[in-house]
Amino acid sequence: MKKSSLHHVLPGFSLSMGYTLVYLSLIVLIPLSAVLIKTAHLTWEHFLSVVTAPRVMASYKLSFGASLLAGVINSIFGFILAWVLVRYRFPGRRIVDALIDLPFALPTAVAGIALTAIYSGHGWLGQYLEPLGFKIAFAPPGILIALIFIGLPFVVRTLQPILEDLEIELEEVSASLGARRWQTFFYVIFPIILPALLTGFALAFARAVGEYGSVIFIAGNIPMVSEITPLMIISKLEQYDYEGATAIALVMLVFSFILLLAINLLQAWAAKRTGRVR
């Protein structure tokens, strides 16, 4: 045994690290590198023309734009939901708590069909909204609603334990020092939950970017208007254009990775500022 490993309080670093690398490779890296290898069959010019085609460009904008917006909306309302579930005791609280996880369990296609049924021109809500000029199903707003639906549990579930750990005493001491309720929220509560909120946002966002099943039913899939990037990939596959499909997938992958990395760095910075990591 090497001398340095004698001094570790937590043994087994080499074993667990080796396991981690093998596992990550098998499950994540090798399949993803297949995307890269397949794409490499294309010439650079061909690659560029595929990934920058106007329809594809429009789909990036829609996919990432709608996902970011859905993430933001989920962060705000997910926070309110988590707050209500943690802070208040009301009849039916357990049922509401269980409902939160439903978007996880429901087949996404079912969610898509259900939402379409509600928001289409003949649906329960759509029949009132459409005459007012709000076209939701078969338009970008429908995509947004589907993405909000599938992303909601992430924010609620990451915030809940943090809010449960939040000591009431902090709020009491803040009030005794003369802080108003909104000051207590912005200066005491918000900085403490911020890292968890960012994690929840990142998860909801990542889930939304990759979502296919539910969106496809409600989007209407009109070229240049309501086509999401995963749909572009699938349609390439249906035409047996595997290289084209992987090329778009690669762009999506890189872009998502950069965004998630940025959110993670932000989250680490926030955690450091809140004194969680020294």
Binding site: E167, E169, E172, V173, L177, G178, I192
Partner: protein, 355 residues
């Protein structure tokens, strides 16, 4: 600022935390609320702070009814047992918090705030920790920062809820001496809650003893210690030896045995509970029959000035434990060893009639 509470009652479900409590806290005093856990002392403190609403009764701050005054307007400094420091802020920002939360018109400019914060940190002797985070401080340092933070807004009253409860014995002793000194400098009306009788007697100007949501006795530390008003107070303020018996003339009869007891106003035959502190019990070997309680020495601890002898009751006093404080010389003189049969005679007996 003076505080008065009048006929305060508060229940949590079936549990009565405060039962018609009325108290007066004069301006500038340091008062201890002392009692076992669950006696309502913390609830009373929180009612005064405005963090808890009483079911009935009034809180008067400087003679004014505070019923409609919100916590943030009561100008009370509150210190929690577990510090409740903002862990995402530095020590400096923690202390500055109250000053920065003021409405813009009343807020000091940032350089004045900085000066004030540093003055306060000097007052609590932790100026050199201004840039640290709470997680990097020891428990005693955290509590001093919490106190500095409470003092920053110049509260009219300081309320401390078991302020030293989470600290180890040595730091606790140090901090309570320091708190007393600080109070002598600032003269701010302060109430602190504790279950540690030594702490209350040592630090406070006055002690309020509470039990089961009721006030048992109020007085200076000397008064409550020397003249406990109720059996509870007697028992709570130190180790006790307890005897149940009946008054018979100049003595108390306990079973078949007799304890001498000087002139009492209690009626002949009254059922009483009698107390003696460990240093008020005398160990004797020979006795005229029936005087003193029979007991057997179980352990002898002799370190320091005082020798402590633990005894088990025998004969009529079986299953009772006694504790005697005496000197090493006396132990040698009596040739006390573990297992020896002796009798215990109180030199002073405090007798309460059973209710």
């Amino acid at each position: 600022m003076s505080i008065q509470v009048k006929n305060i009652s508060k229940a949590f479900g079936n549990f009565i935390a405060l039962d018609n409590v009325s108290l007066d806290f004069p301006s500038g005093e340091l008062v201890a609320l002392l009692g076992p856990s669950g006696c309502g002392k913390t609830t009373l403190l929180r009612v005064i702070a405005g963090m808890e609403q009483a079911d009935s009764g009034d809180v008067l701050l400087e003679g004014e009814d505070a019923a409609t005054t919100h916590v943030r307007e009561r100008q009370v400094g509150f210190v929690f047992q577990h510090y409740a420091l903002f862990r995402h802020m530095t020590v400096f920002d923690n202390v500055a918090f109250g000053l920065r939360m003021k409405p813009r018109k009343q807020r000091l400019p940032e350089d004045k705030i900085a000066k004030k914060v540093h003055d306060l940190l000097k007052l609590v002797q932790l100026d050199w920790l201004a840039d640290r985070f709470p997680a990097q401080l020891s428990g005693g340092q955290r509590q001093r920062i919490a106190l500095a933070r409470a003092l920053a807004v110049e509260p009219r009253v300081l309320l401390l809820d078991e302020p030293f409860g989470a600290l180890d014995a040595k730091v606790r002793k140090e901090l309570r001496r320091w708190l007393r000194k600080l109070h002598d400098e600032l003269h701010i009306t302060s109430i602190f809650v504790t279950h540690d009788q030594e702490e209350a007697l040592e630090v406070a100007d006055r002690v309020v003893l509470m039990n089961h949501g009721k006030v048992e006795q109020v007085g200076t530390p000397e008064e409550v210690y020397a003249h406990p008003a109720t059996p509870f107070v007697y028992g709570f303020l130190g180790s006790v030896n307890l005897f149940h018996g009946r008054v018979e003339g100049e003595s108390v009869r306990v079973g078949d045995d007799r304890l001498p007891h000087e002139a009492s106003e209690l009626a002949h035959g009254a059922e009483v509970t009698a107390f003696a502190r460990p240093h008020e019990l005398e160990i004797i070997i020979q006795s005229e029959s029936g005087v003193g309680i029979p007991a057997k020495v179980s352990r002898i601890f002799s370190f320091g000035l005082v020798t402590r002898v633990e005894l088990e009751g025998t004969e009529g006093a079986i299953n009772q434990h006694f504790e005697v404080e005496t000197t090493r010389e006396r132990v040698t003189e009596l040739a006390l060893i573990e297992g020896k049969n002796v009798r215990l005679v109180p030199s002073r007996l405090r007798v309460f009639q059973n209710q």
